[in-house]
Every structure is written in structure tokens, then in C-alpha cells.
């Protein structure tokens, strides 16, 4: 019997970039197949070919042994392919259900959109993962995690023969992942072939049987996950051994940032804490607990309704990002595409945006200096490919993230706020970013890391604040740090009693 | 009324010269009490239409009839002008004087006013085909007069150029045609360019510059209005050809007079908007009083050059007197 899905000699060339060369592998019906690789390895490009968004330069896709022409997304859907895209592909002004049925709406008398029916079916599809999402709500009113769940729900609607998931859990919490895992298992039982892309190896090991590993656009190998260790897979991905690094603290006793009674008009209430020089402070909590909002207050992006902030003992007013930047605070935001990058501008220009004053001391930009600093900072964050004049939108997410970190390094920021710093970022780059954060701390920077990945928090943080409902529910020192402890404080008591949602994962 | 032939104000046979009004219809009649008149014209951004309004006002004051004078916001605002005119019908004026943007944009007014039993007088420029009453000059004649000047004063002939108003506008079409036909028939002249100036000074300046550069031996320009002519004058001066190229405009606005006196603009065809306004309101009120006027009342125009500028630019009554003399003399 021929496999459900087969890639045969797929190549894809973009001007100046060969994203895929001669990629071949297959996925059987009922198989959950992991697709692994570093940022820029070509995973998304391959899946975009599968879903008809790109056309391959060479090679073909076979479904159930027959070659299929996937010239556009409609053809791909007709061929039985459903896809969850890495970047959320949604229309904020349409409702959840309208987004899920976009392009193939249910109709009455083939004239009117059958709204009710769409909403009913949408609710059904969403129920498996998050029953609280209202299918009639405008998509724009949802949080990122919920929007990602909507994307998943959309793929489930199609009753496809092949479901491709490109980092479906990048914004999800462990408990949401568990429900997704059940859904995926059910799909597999029904004979669907699932291609699953994730940078979270534990997820891949948890649900996939086999995995294909890619590097720089070529297949390095396909493995049976029951037979190999995570370490072996990682070394296939990055082409070298990744040293297992231990947490090292560089915190001093000197208080750099002191926050007292900080509150926002909506989500944050009475938050107080200190941040020391050289310290990495983790902030954990459930989605919606107000972590992003807290960081935005500190970055001056939103205005606080009350509270006081001191830096090095001096009161500062943070009424705009400019104020915050002047005070030495910089935010690496959660939604890179929306809040981070200026897509048409180059890496250098994106990097220099926050420190124009430095690069243009006399009003005119010193481009030689800018180039030099860009080269230096980008080398430090290990940008790949190392093309400083290329528009940033053409880079993978991890490399965009590196450019934004570089932005704050260039601006001489002393307090760095990371919101989900490794969302959508591969193990190699993740290790690099962890390393970078530690180096920054060692140099005397103070860092706050908001993350939904508990292993990440534990790996990085000298101390952890757990937020719940907009306030600090607990402060945990390294000694008392564990996933259990964090979860216990993050989750409202009632839910714990119901025995739900335990962090389940092994360490990084 | 449907049996009325579409009006061509330039050729209509049922017409009378303004100077004949008193002779044929007697002194100004007594009006019903409380008579008030409403008027709408193209735009106040052009002095011509403001002067027309002054004429309305001065005659209104003279016979103690209040007159409301409105105008659209710009020359192209067709529906806005219709809205204004409809407002005037609704408000119960005894007579309407309208100077439409185009030949048809005020057509509904004719019908609405008829239903309300209000006479409508079409004053100058665009001509509503269904209009029962028209007061104004002969548009074509503007061009003809300038052409005649060239024929008389440049007996050797030569190259001439036309700068037209907005494409498709009645006055522009007629004036251009009058000039072109007359001067071509004379035989010795060559119309080397006839290009749009869009009633715009800058566009005309640029067009004239280009034409002069291509035809440095040009002997004259005719422009469809004075604003454009004044732009051309500047282009001619910039090209250093002011002694060789004659420039004519149309309308007789005060700036044109000033320029003629200064020896820059060669001439303009004045259609005496103030006087036109007076005549128009007089005719309209005679209609209100029940007199049966011919369909067209022709208003005066005259070619103004440096020689005669003073004769036509005095106070209202002096001009009236001069024009009555002209009329009596038959030109």
C-alpha cells in the first residue's frame, strides 16, 4: 500500500535562497509524523508547498500514491490537505466562526451564509480544546492562545486526509497541549496522516511515532522516535552536540528596578517587586494572568493607573516607550510580527530603530557606524543568514527575534523585558538565546522573562514571580523552584481540586 | 413646455436687444407687493459672477426688490447647484435667475418652477434647452470679435493660438468656435494650436510657454477667459515677446482692464456682467409684472483695448450710456 503522503525530490528556490533541496519522505495513514529542524531549516516552506501557498521549483507531492497538483490553497483543500499555519492567518474583524469557514462558508440556498450552523459546527470543533471560545465573538477580541486554538479548530473542520500543523502550540499552555494531543490521537485513529512541526521536542516525543529531521533545506534523516534519544535528535538538527547548560546566577544585591503598587486600568492590580542588577527574574502564570500587560506597563507601552517605579533609586515616569527606553528599559514583545518588526526594512534598520540618536549624533545617520554596530551585534546574536541589508520579513522567526534583541543591545538597554522569548524558536537558537540572556545578566543587565514554558523559566530564572489574576500570587526563590510549585500558585484553588492541568514535562 | 424648441441663445430668432427693452415695453412696471427674487450662479470664485450679483443687487435696490444671490462651491459642482436652486424654489421666490453649470444640470428647476408658477430666467453661459427666458450675450460673438480685431489689425495674417476653457463647457466651445471659424475664413491666418487651459492660469501659462517655444513667430493668443489670458501674458513676457504677440481674453474682469491699461494684455471682450445682471433682473421682474418678453434678451459686449478702455470702465451709469450709444450706432 502506498503511503498517505509522500514528498518526492521537492526543491524550492527563492531569489538568493535555496530553501529546500531534494526533500523526500513519506507519512502513512494514521501516522503522526514529526518534522524537526532549526529555524530556517525549511519546515514551513515544505508545508506551504503542501498546502498550495508555494509551488515547488522541482519535485512532486503524492497523496495515496497519486501525484497531486497543489497550485493554490483551494486545490490543496480539495486534495484533502488541512493546514495550521505558523503565522496566524486570520481576519480580526470577522467572527471566530466566519474565520474558521472562510473560503468555504456553509450556505443556505447557496446564497446566504448559514451563520448559526457555522457557529454550531465551529463550537463543536473548538469544544475538544477550549469550550470557552465563543464562535460568534470577533476574532480580534481573542487572545493569541485562543486564536491559535481557532486555527486548530479550523483544520479539524475540514475532515481532511492530511493535517499539517506548523507549530500549533507556540502560544498554548501545557494543559491546552494535552487536549490537543488527544485530538491529534483521535485524528490518527481515524486514519488521518498528521505532520507535526514543533520546536518543543518533548511534545514531539510525546505524540509522534516517527520524525523527519531537516537542516538547511535538506533531510538529514527520518527516525523512529521510540528508538532514539532526544539528545541524538538535537544533534541531528543542529549538526553538533548541544552542551547541557546549568543555571548560573549573576544577581547582585544592588536594586536596579523597584516597582511598588503598579496597576493598569484593566488587568494588573497592585504589583510590587524588586529587580536586582545582574538578575534574571522569571514571571510565570496562566494565560490572561496579566504578564504581558505588566511588561507593557514597564515598557511604557501602556499607561499605569497607579503605582511607582524607581530605577537605581530614582523615580521614573514611564508614560511612553521613549521614556522607558531613556530609562534603560527595552521590551522584546510577544507578537513579533505585529509589535516587533518593520517588515520592509532591513535587519540593520530594524536594529537601529530604537537608538537613532546614537547613530545620528549630529542629525545625520552615520551609516558606517551603523553597519559596524549591526555587524557586531548580529554576530553576537548569531544571525543566520548573515545578510544585514535583507528585509527582516524574509528571515525566520528566530532570526527576527535575534535582531530585536540586537536592537536593545545597540540601544544600551540595561533592563530587558522578554515576553515569551523563545516562542517559535528552535532548540539551537533557544540555547543561544538562553546563553545570551545569561551573558547579559553576567554583564550587569537586569532581565525579566515572561514565559509559559515552565522548563524555560526554571532554566533561566534566579527568582520567579507567579502571577494570578493580575497580581503577584507568590515569589519563589531558586531553592523552592519547581514546576509543581509554580503551577500550584498559578492555578486558582478550585481547579487544582478538580485535579486538572498539571505541568507534565521533563526538564529542558 | 414640450413644444418649445430647444433653445440656442446664439441663434434664437425671438430676441430683443437690451437697449430696446424700454422702447418696446415701456417704463419699468409696478410689481405686486412683496415681490422677491432668487438667483443662483456658477461660482463666486470668478469675478464675472460676483459682478453679475452686483448687477442684480443694484437693480434690486433701485426698484426695492430683495434679491437672494447664491452660487455653487466650485465651477464643477453640478448637483450642489441643483440643490441650491431647489432650495430657492421651495422658499417661494417670485422669480428665479439661474446661471447653470451645464446645459442640463438645472433642468428639473424649469419643471419644478413651472409647477410652482415661478418664471425662470436663464442668465448667460450654459443654456438650458427648455428655458423659456434667456438673458445674456452671444457667446460665439466673443470669439468673433477678437478674430475681427486680428483681421483688421494684422492684415498680413500669421499664426495664432487658442487656449480653451474646460473641455465640453458651452461657453468654451462657442467662443473657441467663433474665433476659429471667423479667423480661418479670413484666409491669411493659421490656427497652430487650440489646447485646453481648463480656466486655470497656471495651465495656460505652461501651455503658452510651450506654444511660443514651438512657434516663436506667433502673432496672437485668444483665451476663453481673462484669468487664462493673464497667465498667457506672463508667459509671453517671460519669453520676451510682448511686443510681437497680441493676447486677448474674455469677460472684462477688472484685472484685465488693469493689464490692458498697463499695456500688457492687448484686449478682452467685456460682456459687462454688472449691466447684464441689471438687465436680467429687470427682464425677470417685467415677467413677474406680466409682460410678454421675447425668449432672448441680448446683453451687450464690446472689445476692449487700450484705446477704449476708459470709455467702458467708468461708474455703472456711464458705461450704460456708452453702451446705449454703441447700440444706437449699431455695433
Amino acid at each position: 500500500m502506498s503511503p498517505r503522503l509522500q514528498f518526492e525530490g521537492i526543491s524550492k528556490e527563492f531569489p538568493a535562497v535555496r530553501a529546500l533541496s531534494d526533500v523526500s519522505f513519506s507519512v502513512g495513514a494514521g501516522e503522526i509524523h514529526g518534522l524537526l529542524g532549526e529555524n530556517g531549516a525549511g519546515k514551513s516552506t515544505l508545508l506551504r508547498i503542501l498546502s498550495g501557498v508555494y509551488r515547488p521549483t522541482a519535485g512532486s507531492v503524492l497523496i495515496d500514491g497519486k501525484p497531486v497538483t497543489l497550485n493554490n490553497p483551494v486545490a490543496a483543500r480539495a486534495a484533502g490537505v488541512a493546514m495550521i499555519h505558523q503565522e496566524l492567518q486570520q481576519v480580526p474583524r470577522l467572527s471566530v466562526a466566519q474565520n474558521m469557514f472562510l473560503g468555504h462558508p456553509l450556505t443556505r440556498g447557496s446564497i446566504f451564509v448559514a451563520r448559526r450552523e457555522q457557529e454550531r459546527r465551529a463550537a463543536e470543533a473548538l469544544a475538544a480544546i477550549d469550550p470557552t471560545i465563543d464562535p460568534a465573538a470577533p476574532l480580534g477580541s481573542l487572545k493569541v492562545a485562543q486564536r491559535q486554538i481557532v486555527e486548530i479548530g479550523r483544520a479539524l473542520l475540514d475532515r481532511a486526509r492530511i493535517v499539517a500543523m506548523d507549530e500549533p502550540t507556540s502560544s498554548l499552555t501545557p494543559s491546552e497541549f494535552e487536549r490537543l494531543a488527544e485530538v491529534i490521537a483521535r485524528l490518527a485513529r481515524d486514519g488521518v496522516a498528521v505532520v507535526y512541526v514543533s520546536h518543543k521536542l518533548d511534545e514531539v516525543f510525546g505524540i509522534c511515532q516517527r520524525a523527519t529531521i531537516m537542516r538547511d533545506g535538506v533531510v538529514v534523516g527520518s527516525v523512529d522516535l521510540a528508538q532514539v534519544s532526544e539528545k541524538a535528535v538535537v544533534s541531528m538538527m543542529v549538526g553538533r552536540e548541544l552542551a547541557q547548560e546549568q543555571h548560573r546566577s549573576h544577581a547582585s544585591a544592588e536594586i536596579r528596578l523597584s516597582v511598588r503598587g503598579l496597576a493598569s486600568p484593566t488587568k494588573v492590580h497592585d504589583v510590587s517587586f524588586d529587580l536586582h542588577r545582574g538578575e534574571v527574574l522569571g514571571i510565570a502564570g496562566l494565560v490572561g494572568s496579566g504578564r504581558t500587560e505588566l511588561l507593557r506597563l514597564l515598557a511604557g507601552a501602556d499607561r499605569a493607573s497607579s503605582g511607582a517605579v524607581e530605577i537605581d533609586g530614582k523615580a521614573v515616569k514611564l508614560s511612553s516607550p521613549r521614556d522607558a527606553i531613556a530609562a534603560g528599559i527595552g521590551l522584546v514583545p510577544e507578537e513579533r510580527k505585529r509589535e516587533g518588526i518593520v517588515p520592509l526594512r532591513s535587519i540593520s534598520n530594524n536594529m537601529a530603530l530604537a537608538s537613532m540618536g546614537v547613530f545620528a549624533p549630529r542629525g545625520v545617520i552615520d551609516h558606517t557606524r551603523l553597519k559596524r554596530v549591526a555587524a557586531e551585534k548580529m554576530k553576537r546574536v548569531n544571525l543566520r543568514p548573515f545578510l544585514l541589508d535583507r528585509p527582516i520579513r524574509l528571515f525566520s522567526g528566530g532570526n527576527q527575534q535575534k535582531a530585536i534583541i540586537g536592537r536593545w543591545l545597540a540601544a544600551g538597554t540595561r533592563i530587558l523585558l522578554f515576553d515569551e522569548p523563545t516562542r517559535g524558536i528552535d532548540v539551537g537558537a533557544k540555547a543561544e538565546i538562553y546563553h545570551l540572556i545569561e551573558e547579559l545578566a553576567a554583564e550587569g543587565h537586569s532581565v525579566i522573562v515572561v514565559s509559559s514554558e515552565l522548563p524555560e523559566v526554571i532554566r533561566l530564572a534566579d527568582r520567579v514571580l507567579v502571577m494570578r489574576d493580575g497580581t503577584v500570587a507568590a515569589e519563589l526563590g531558586r531553592a523552592s523552584l519547581s514546576e509543581q510549585a509554580i503551577a500550584a500558585h498559578a492555578i486558582p484553588q478550585t481547579e487544582i481540586e478538580a485535579g486538572k492541568a498539571q505541568g507534565h514535562r521533563a526538564g529542558a | 413646455s414640450a413644444d418649445l424648441a430647444p433653445l440656442n441663445s446664439d441663434t434664437e430668432k425671438d430676441r430683443i436687444d437690451w437697449s430696446q427693452l424700454e422702447a418696446k415695453f415701456g417704463a419699468f412696471p409696478k410689481l405686486p407687493d412683496g415681490t422677491k427674487a432668487g438667483a443662483v450662479s456658477k461660482t463666486l470664485t470668478n469675478e464675472y459672477w460676483r459682478s453679475l450679483g452686483e448687477g442684480y443687487k443694484s437693480f434690486g435696490d433701485r426698484v426695492a426688490v430683495p434679491i437672494v444671490y447664491q452660487a455653487a462651491q466650485s465651477e464643477g459642482d453640478q448637483l450642489g447647484q441643483l440643490t441650491i436652486a431647489e432650495g430657492l424654489v421651495t422658499q417661494g421666490y417670485n422669480v428665479l435667475l439661474v446661471s447653470p453649470q451645464t446645459d442640463s444640470n438645472l433642468q428639473p428647476i424649469i419643471e419644478q418652477a413651472k409647477a410652482a408658477n415661478v418664471p425662470v430666467v436663464n442668465v448667460n453661459d450654459a443654456v438650458i434647452p427648455q428655458a423659456e427666458h434667456y438673458v445674456g450675450n452671444v457667446q460665439r460673438d466673443n470669439g468673433v470679435r477678437v478674430a475681427k480685431w486680428f483681421i483688421k489689425n494684422r492684415p498680413d495674417g500669421g499664426k495664432v493660438a487658442i487656449v480653451e476653457g474646460q473641455a465640453g463647457v458651452y461657453a468654451a466651445v462657442q467662443r473657441t468656435d467663433g474665433f476659429k471659424t471667423t479667423i480661418t475664413e479670413a484666409g491669411k491666418f493659421d490656427v497652430v494650436a487650440s489646447v485646453p487651459g481648463n480656466w486655470d492660469r497656471q495651465t495656460s501659462y505652461d501651455a503658452a510657454t510651450n506654444i511660443l517655444q514651438q512657434h516663436p513667430d506667433l502673432i496672437g493668443f485668444y483665451a476663453n477667459n481673462d484669468g487664462m489670458a493673464l497667465g498667457i501674458v506672463e508667459a509671453v513676457k517671460a519669453a520676451g515677446l510682448q511686443d510681437k504677440v497680441a493676447v486677448f481674453g474674455t469677460d472684462g474682469i477688472s484685472d484685465a482692464y488693469a493689464s490692458i491699461r498697463a499695456g500688457e494684455l492687448t484686449g478682452t471682450v467685456d460682456s459687462f456682467p454688472v449691466l447684464t445682471g441689471e438687465v436680467a433682473l429687470e427682464s425677470a421682474l417685467r415677467l413677474v409684472a406680466g409682460q410678454k418678453l421675447p425668449r432672448v434678451v441680448a446683453t451687450p459686449q464690446a472689445l476692449i483695448t487700450k484705446d477704449n478702455a476708459d470709455r467702458y470702465s467708468g461708474a455703472g451709469d456711464a458705461v450704460r450710456k456708452a453702451l446705449l450709444e454703441d447700440a444706437a450706432a449699431g455695433n
Binding site: 472562510l102 470577533p138 507601552a301 501602556d302 | 462651491q73 453640478q78
Partner: protein
């Protein structure tokens, strides 16, 4: 920088339908304020006859603005509506004058409107040119064609029967008003109830997402321009019915009024957003303003001033009433 902070970040996110109607309520309040002011200043402003006048005078702009709204929602703009209307008008009119049966002549006018829209749409959707510049180009082109076709002369003498079609009245309302009301209802249904309406919002809201979801981008955009062309042609028929003549220079500057109505009504020129109800209210705001200023006998320079200030005021009132958002 206070405002910016608020503006870009802490934006309240209310319920979808709720939000939409809040936006329309803002426009409605704008209208009510303007009506109240004129009502207080102008005796007889609220007379039934005058209110009907306002509706009638707003109807042509409303008709165009509905098409414009759909185009704007799709992320485009149509500057060529006036010349499209002119071309459609002169062609219908010359057929009518030549004795062609009414339905055929009207159909020909509509076909011209659709064809003009099709060309705009193809240049935007398939060739990938910018809507503003495409329709700026066709603005001149279509106008020139109308002028060339007629030699610059108006087409006069439309048959009375034809004129009666558009000059009748129904339930005491001028037929033009009724027709535009029906068009508005259809546009509302299209936008709210049909897949095409969703496609418009999706294409204007996030073209890439729409493409990936399988929305026929090009066809959706082209259809929007064709509807705009069709409604321009309809406006042309209404107008020539009213005027009894068709001129090649008809429809000058119509695009600005139509865009203003759509924008006052809440359409975003960035695409993905717009409301049929809002657009109609916007057209009526502009219509009442013209009407009121005329009745007040405001001199034209001051009318122009008032036009500008009222457009700004309508946007401000709307902005204030619905908060920032």
C-alpha cells in the same frame, strides 16, 4: 504622547455586533446634531417636503457611496465613479434618443458601468496596480471617452416615458429614494449575509489570510469594482431621468462626496471595515448640510468653509461618542 498610548494599545475590545452598531450610533448622533442645529436655525427645515428634498438630494450620492463602501472595504478606492456615470449616461441617453426601447437602453448603460468596473478591477486584481492610481487613470480615460463619444455636447430630449420611470413616487417618496433604499438593503444583505460580503471583509482585512483560506481574491476585488461601476450607472440613470439630458461632463467630483459619505459612515480607507447603514447616514449628513446651508442663504465661500468644518466635525463627534477606536 498620551493619546497615542491609549490609541495603539489599551484599546477596549467590545463585542462585534455591538461595536458595529456603536459605530453607526456615532454617525447617527452626528446626523442628529446637524439636523438639530439646522432645525433651530432654519424655519421650515423639518417640513415634510424639505425632508423629502434632503433624501432625494442625497440619493445619488448615497447610491455611489454604497458601491464605494464595498470597494473601500475590499481595500481599494474608486475615483472613476463620476466619469463612469457620465459614460453610462451619454450612451443610454443617445440610445433612448435614437428610439431604442427603454429596457435595452438602460441595460446598455448598466453594461457600460459594469465594463468600467471590470477594467478597474482587472488592473487592480490581476495586474496588481494600486487602486488609487488605476482609478485616477481611468477617471481621465472614461471622461475623455464620454466627451469624444458626444463631441462634448449634451444629449438632449430624453423620452418622457423614460423620465417618468425615475421621476415617479411610491408611498409618497420619490422613486429615486425608494430605489436607493432597495439598493442599500441589498448591499446590507450582501455585506452581512453572503459569502461575498465575508470575502470583501476578509480581502480588505487580511489579504494574505484570505488567500490562504481559499478566498478568490481577484474575483472578489473585481466584483467590488463592478458593483461600484453598476451603481454609478444606476446613479446616472436616475440623474438623467431627473435632468432630461445626459452630459459628458456629468458626475464631476462625485468621487469625493461618495468617499466622504463612506468615511463619515465608518469605512476605513485601509480596508476591511465599513458599514452600509453608516454610509447611508453619511450621505444624508452631507445632503442635509447642503440643504440647510442653502436655506440659510449662506454665501458660497462660507458654505465651502462649513462643508469642510462639518466633515471634520462629523468625524470628531463620531470619534468622541464611540470613544477611541
Amino acid at each position: 504622547m498620551t493619546d497615542i498610548t491609549q490609541h495603539t494599545a489599551a484599546r477596549p475590545r467590545a463585542d462585534f455586533l455591538h461595536r458595529f452598531s456603536v459605530r453607526d450610533a456615532g454617525t447617527l448622533i452626528g446626523l442628529v446634531v446637524i439636523l438639530a442645529v439646522f432645525g433651530a436655525l432654519v424655519p421650515g427645515f423639518f417640513a415634510e417636503r424639505n425632508l423629502i428634498n434632503i433624501l432625494q438630494q442625497s440619493s445619488i450620492n448615497a447610491c455611489l457611496a454604497l458601491g464605494m463602501t464595498l470597494v473601500i472595504i475590499s481595500g481599494g478606492i474608486d475615483l472613476s465613479v463620476g466619469p463612469t456615470a457620465a459614460l453610462s449616461a451619454v450612451i443610454s441617453a443617445s440610445m433612448l434618443v435614437a428610439g431604442v426601447p427603454f429596457p435595452l437602453a438602460i441595460a446598455a448603460g448598466f453594461a457600460i458601468g459594469l465594463a468600467c468596473g471590470l477594467l478597474n478591477g482587472v488592473l487592480v486584481a490581476y495586474v496588481g496596480l494600486q487602486p488609487f492610481i488605476v482609478t485616477l487613470g481611468t477617471l481621465s480615460t472614461y471622461r475623455a471617452l464620454a466627451l469624444i463619444y458626444t463631441g462634448g455636447n449634451p444629449v438632449l430630449g430624453l423620452p418622457a416615458g423614460f423620465r417618468a420611470i425615475f421621476n415617479g413616487s411610491l408611498f409618497g417618496l420619490p422613486l429615486a429614494v425608494v430605489i436607493v433604499a432597495v439598493v442599500a438593503l441589498i448591499a446590507w444583505i450582501i455585506l452581512k449575509k453572503t459569502p461575498f460580503g465575508e470575502y470583501l471583509l476578509a480581502v480588505g482585512g487580511n489579504e494574505e489570510a484570505a488567500y490562504i483560506a481559499g478566498v478568490p481574491i481577484a474575483r472578489t476585488k473585481i466584483a467590488a469594482y463592478m458593483i461600484s461601476g453598476l451603481l454609478a450607472a444606476l446613479a446616472a440613470q436616475i440623474l438623467i431621468g431627473r435632468l432630461g439630458a445626459a452630459e459628458p461632463i456629468l458626475g464631476n467630483l462625485w468621487e469625493l462626496d461618495a468617499i466622504a459619505a463612506a468615511a463619515i459612515g465608518g469605512a476605513s480607507l485601509m480596508g476591511g471595515k465599513g458599514s452600509v447603514v453608516g454610509t447611508i447616514l453619511g450621505a444624508v449628513i452631507l445632503g442635509s448640510m447642503r440643504n440647510g446651508l442653502t436655506l440659510m442663504n449662506v454665501q458660497s465661500f462660507y458654505q465651502l468653509l462649513a462643508t469642510g468644518l462639518i466633515i471634520l466635525a462629523a468625524m470628531l463627534i463620531d470619534r468622541v461618542t464611540r470613544g477611541r477606536g
